[in-house]
Symmetry: C2
Subunit: 331 residues, 2 copies
């Protein structure tokens, strides 16, 4: 993701829905184009959609004559996807400036972007000592999902930078194959040793003793540590626990939501049935059969070994540890 | 699956690899055609490949001048797929006749087929009282997978026959989508209320309280109750246990393998990477990325609430219960 030009510039987004077959950059000049890109998953990943939303507010301010109007544009944008808290967090932060001045808004959007990249680096450094043996990951929480080197994959990138080549097993991540399309793409480009598996094979792989640790990102983390992340995460956490494999959730502070107590309060986005019925656009199921298609699930805090954040590694009990990092420094 | 004609007849198989888009019947006159159909998953499901193997031995006997040659044909056939025990069980049973007489062999193959259909009915009757609330199932353990009304789905069919309409959630079952292609197809044709979900969504569904019981088939069951079944089964069993939902394995006695003590001794078939990399023939992953593609996994006996067999419902401790049913009546 790149901002091109100054305060009257435009947002350029790599269209992730076309990867790995095509590498195409979208140019957004209107906030509704960013809204649509978020909704259609052309840009996805909780931190990345937060960064995109920051820039979208710069685009929005040009078209608004009052702060009230900008507030309404922000509310629309924040509703593009309901589960990732980073989206509404970034919109709120931009609105908190209480200005329509494009230069000031662009500085804030760039700050969100830079802070996210910095958070990724710190997450990678904090996670590096925990990286032992082969890694299992789900969905894409790498550079495509963030403004930097990723969350779940940050420690892998730091290891690569040090000449180590950790083996990574990437779950394909149905229904939209972010593991096969995105994680495999960015890791193999970075020279990592990456192997794909279907989501359903992860539990058997964990039982086989091959995996040293499981790493996932997060879309929203409740005050008690319950974590919403891509559907399938909960099953991997159960299998990791059953087989004594550490399960790490890597996320910046902007993914924690102190306004909710437990995972029960997290709204899970339901998506259209066609993603299930017609994988990659090719029909698998007979006509007339419906599908249940939640985009996320909730992993209870008790299954999580630690959170890896830019403010360090959080161990249980998570409640006080989360409160501590949210009350320290800027958020 | 149908045998057409007398002892010099032929085997007709519904090509399951083309469902639900096309309903095509294959005609096999040579045992290697059956071998190939089993290997290519045109016929699949542990009981069904046992039945097919019985008929294939009738075809083989025509081309063999000695029992030793028939034995070699049987060994080839039994090697078509390694995990399901029903395949080698049926071949052994045919060879035990020690004859090349096509009429005698056809009688035995028809007996295997009829006994399997009968076992399915009995499994359905035994399972019916356990069927409460909505059912979650994985892969296809229905009529397509057996010589009768299925194993995991037998109780559902018995309920339908009584005018009840149990709600069934079917996991799509990557990599080959047997849940989406086969279970959804046969259940919707039978008038059942079936909903698809991706395999990774099953744990969240189990946590939601929607599911009354989980039903799966089996490919091989060790003496202690450890069960090999389609990859993904183990994860569902973990999620069922974590959420207090009963987990039933439905299988005929021919799926139990008293020659092995635990699941560690079961050989898991590894299949080609393309099934993972290119779902339904459409490429998802970037070129050059490998895949790990086991067809099955092992569910430890401790996660199984009960086995539902034609000889009744087996509760823990499974060792003695399994020995009892294998020592009773014909196998």
């Amino acid at each position: 993701m790149k901002w091109a030009g100054g305060p009257s510039g435009r947002l350029r987004l790599l269209d992730q829905s076309l990867l790995p077959a095509r590498v195409r950059w979208l140019t957004c000049r209107h906030p509704r184009e960013v809204f649509s890109a978020i909704r259609m998953l052309r840009v996805r990943g909780a931190p990345a959609i937060g960064v995109a939303a920051g820039y979208a507010m710069v685009l929005a301010a040009r078209r608004c004559s009052t702060l009230a109007r900008l507030g309404r544009e922000g509310a629309v944008l924040a509703g593009a996807r309901p589960t990732a808290v980073n989206l509404s967090w970034a919109v709120k932060r931009m609105l908190a400036l209480r200005t329509l001045d494009a230069a000031a808004l662009l500085r804030e959007a760039r700050a969100i972007h830079a802070e996210d990249a910095d958070a990724c680096r710190r997450i990678g450094l904090a996670g590096l000592p925990l990286l032992r043996g082969a890694v299992l990951t789900h969905c894409n929480a790498g550079s495509l999902a963030t403004g930097g080197i990723g969350t779940a994959l940050a420690a892998v990138y730091e290891a690569l930078r040090r000449g180590r080549a950790p083996r990574v097993f990437s779950c394909e991540t149905r229904p939209l194959f972010q593991g096969a399309r995105l994680t495999a793409w960015e890791l193999s480009r970075a020279g990592a040793d990456v192997t794909l598996l279907v989501d359903a094979a992860a539990a058997g792989l964990l039982a086989s003793g091959t995996i040293g640790s499981v790493w996932v990102g997060a879309d929203r983390i409740a005050s008690n540590g319950d974590t919403a992340n891509k559907v399938g995460t909960y099953a991997h956490a159960l299998a990791a626990r059953a087989n004594g494999v550490p399960f790490y959730v890597a996320a910046p502070r902007s993914t924690f939501d102190p306004s909710i107590r437990t995972g029960r309060e997290i709204r899970i986005e339901q998506r259209g049935a066609e993603e299930v019925l017609a994988p990659l656009g090719r029909r698998a199921a007979p006509r007339g059969v419906p599908a249940w298609n939640p985009a996320f699930d909730i992993t209870p805090a008790r299954l999580i070994t630690a959170f890896v954040t830019e403010a360090g590694v959080l161990r249980p009990p998570f409640g006080p540890a989360i409160r501590r990092i949210l009350n320290t420094g800027s958020r």
